[in-house]
Symmetry: C2
Subunit: 254 residues, 2 copies
């Protein structure tokens, strides 16, 4: 049984969160959890996340490392109109391509701003600057688009805007075999089941297994999560583990 990450059709991803405000604690990131959920649902295996400051060299270094290692790299943040929004320039630098105002982006933004009586100031025009070769990603909330350059998908940092951009770009991405999971709630602390759980993992090396402790009113408990892209194999591993735990009286009441 091969591990999912060894399959030739395995699709992987990383996220790069860009923003001083996350590192200072001012803003609590909510994008990683959302993107993780969405990617898992479509069979894209999120392997790594990085958060870096609004510093060009740091962004370029991370983009360079991550885009070579994974099928896709998603970035969030730093595509607004102010001087600290440097993501598009950093992406252009990472790819070694020029960046300039894109007429397609302008065409999307102009009617949105006209309707609201807002002038297209030089700083707003910054949001229409895209690295050469980019495809636009629609922003149904505030018009200024995200973009995709090769395998790098550049999204906004504001969660609502990020989410509509992600929905817009998703159908154009290669997706993989969906990772399925089963969770088993156990009524004893994980130290009590760790040995049998490790033996079970050894018996099913192609099914990924993790244990997550929790504190309940009745004391320490844990949840065992089994994951696989193969429904039959996942069912077999889960059923046999459930049977073992039931025999020991360790299954939590449903």
């Amino acid at each position: 049984m091969s591990k999912p990450e060894d399959r030739p059709d395995h699709v992987t991803a990383a996220i790069l969160v860009i923003g001083d405000e996350i590192l200072s604690g001012r803003t609590k990131d909510r994008n990683v959890g959302h993107i993780a959920d969405v990617l898992t649902a479509v069979g894209i295996d999120l392997r790594e996340v990085r958060i870096v400051a609004d510093v060009t060299e740091d962004i370029v270094a991370a983009v360079d490392a991550l885009r070579r290692r994974y099928t896709y790299l998603f970035t969030t943040g730093g595509i607004g109109p102010t001087h600290d929004d440097i993501t598009a320039d950093a992406i252009a630098a990472a790819f070694g391509v020029p960046i300039d105002v894109d007429e397609r982006a302008l065409a999307l933004m102009r009617p949105h701003y006209e309707r609201r009586g807002l002038p297209l100031t030089p700083s707003r025009l910054r949001m229409a600057r895209l690295p050469k070769g980019s495809e636009l990603i629609e922003n149904s909330i505030s018009a200024a688009p995200g973009f995709r350059l090769e395998n790098v998908v550049v999204l906004a940092g504001v969660p609502s805007v990020m989410q509509v951009m992600l929905d817009a770009v998703l159908p154009s991405l290669k997706t993989g075999r969906r990772m399925l999971s089963q969770a088993i709630d156990v009524n004893v602390p994980e130290g009590d089941i760790a040995d049998l759980f490790a033996a079970h993992q050894s018996a099913y090396p192609d099914v990924s297994m993790g244990s997550y402790p929790s504190f309940s009113a009745t004391g320490l408990r844990c949840q065992l999560v089994l994951r696989s892209t193969e429904p039959a194999r996942l069912e077999e591993a889960s059923a046999s583990l459930r049977e073992t735990l039931a025999g020991l009286g360790y299954l939590a009441a449903p």
Copy 2:
């Protein structure tokens, strides 16, 4: 005026979050935001965060890169009793030191487990295994300690346990000049103030300035955040920006 990161007494940090459950979306990370707040409050400059899976090579590579680049590296997750808890072994591998059951850790754990009538199974003993040369970090909740090896601080993944460990280790760390901040709420979208804000940043290159958009009932607004370790300089930059914005009628009602 020098930038804070150029000072010799500047203290930096990175966080490495370890866990498949964060990357799959099953668990939403709450530790990064908390650690960011705590570090900012004591003048440690968080520069980078990475999240990696429960894969030894990935953990070792990240530990190796981050511990050399920053004053401190904080890790969270992967120090429980089950087979997917591989952080301590990965840290030992990254440092090239042996790992074994530590008598000091055992001495902390034994009374805790005895009081609860829980046997110290081989898997629970895994939590007493520490890389050679580690200092223990007290865990006032569930006894199994965190540890520190040189500049790497290894914390639990369960938020409540991580927090008591962080509180326990903090007094032993070198701290820096506290980063102070002032926030200015503006009643227009950031596109309207981006040009004057960029000019203000150029006038005060030693004060870090960011703009964060928000949607309110009355439309688009934004918050400008100025940050510096120098109280007088921060006050000067903030007062002069407030004056400019007030003159334009752009200050939001308090």
